[in-house]
């Protein structure tokens, strides 16, 4: 389990249920490293600002992470974390490696509003 204050996804079934049962979902899948932590910190900051979007994390090293790793949109990614944005169960954006709060906000505003 990642040491963040975000909701953690630990089972693949839970990830599927969340993505298919929610309109807007952002999942960041990584470790507690210097490229991943700023993304989680930004997500924690943005949780209150975007109550209509579920912002969750997932440990890159658990079996359930195959839910993210196996997505075609992530096939060429070579940097942690893998961050994927779902709208009505479908991937609308995916990023690899560190992202600033500004970059994340831009995606949330553009894809979910």
């Amino acid at each position: 389990m990642l040491g963040t204050n975000l909701e953690h996804l630990e089972q693949k079934e839970d990830a599927e249920t969340l993505v298919n049962g929610s309109e807007n979902v952002m999942i960041s899948c990584g470790r507690m490293g210097p490229m991943c932590i700023p993304v989680y910190a930004a997500m924690e900051d943005l949780e209150k600002e975007y109550p209509h979007i579920k912002l969750v994390d997932m440990d890159f090293d658990i079996p359930a992470a195959s839910f993210i790793k196996s997505l075609p949109e992530c096939s060429s990614f070579m940097g942690l974390p893998f961050t994927v944005y779902f709208k009505n169960g479908k991937v609308v954006e995916a990023t690899s490696s560190i992202q600033s709060k500004e970059q994340i906000k831009e995606i949330l505003d553009h894809k979910f509003n």
Binding site: G33, P38, A41, F77, M78, S96, K101, E102
Partner: protein
Amino acid sequence: MDASTTECIIIGAGPAGLSAAMQIAARGHSCTVIEGNVSGGHIVVTAAIMDYPGIETISGYAFSAILLKQAQSNGVAVKTGHKAISLIRTGQNRYTVNLDDGTALSSQCVVLATGLRSVNTGLPEESDFSGRGVSYCAECDGFFFKNKPVAIYGKGDGFAEAVESLSLIGKPTYHVYPSGSPSADATGSTFEGWRIAALEGDGNLSAIHLESNDRKQKRKIEVEGLFVYMGKEPADELLKPFLTTDAVTNMRPLSYHDLARTGLFVSGHLAEAETLIEVCASGVSTAGQVSKYLQKIEKG
């Protein structure tokens, strides 16, 4: 005072800025912290802080969260994700900070605690390849490049560890150092005095273009990974204009002490603090100066 006016604006929500903020607010002054990204600064990514007095060990992530909570509990307003794009002294005891969202804040004094920023290659295409070949952390992303050709660029913090880590993973591994006189070793894997002039790839990185510092030699190297370790530099753009002649007093400041007399305080790494303890102490010390300054203004 209206919502956009406060006694003190602090630019930077790292350990210096938040330490200053909580102490300024504790002394009864209104205070707003502006941060372009997330709170915590560079310390947020430190795996374990083990030398802070009174704390056995704590992650930088948890430490930053506590600092933020302490500041907010004292009544500090913290605006993250809002970059200060300009700082203007508009009169005696009056500053205006313009933010990237088009809004502005004004205050009687300002603390600059913008700290350090990571240096990158400076190439416009670098962000396109971030996470697609360009990385800033060998420990984090090295495993993606097992038996693939990689290059390491720079000599900044963590460079030696990255070289060791990638030598076990990447095949082959190239080292490119932007400083020094141009040379390339006999094996062609080390380039000192060379810089990266361009990145190439269709989606993911496939090659880097090198140019010697004297611009006489060029090389293209096929790599799938580029690890950038260019170090950090002071984030001092807002400070620099104040180190020239002041528009209000027509005086040229000789030191940060001179700036402080006009209500502009410099704290943390910009004030040459280095360790986390020094940076926090710098913030607390600045808070004391700010409080005295505001009390002096109030007394007229």
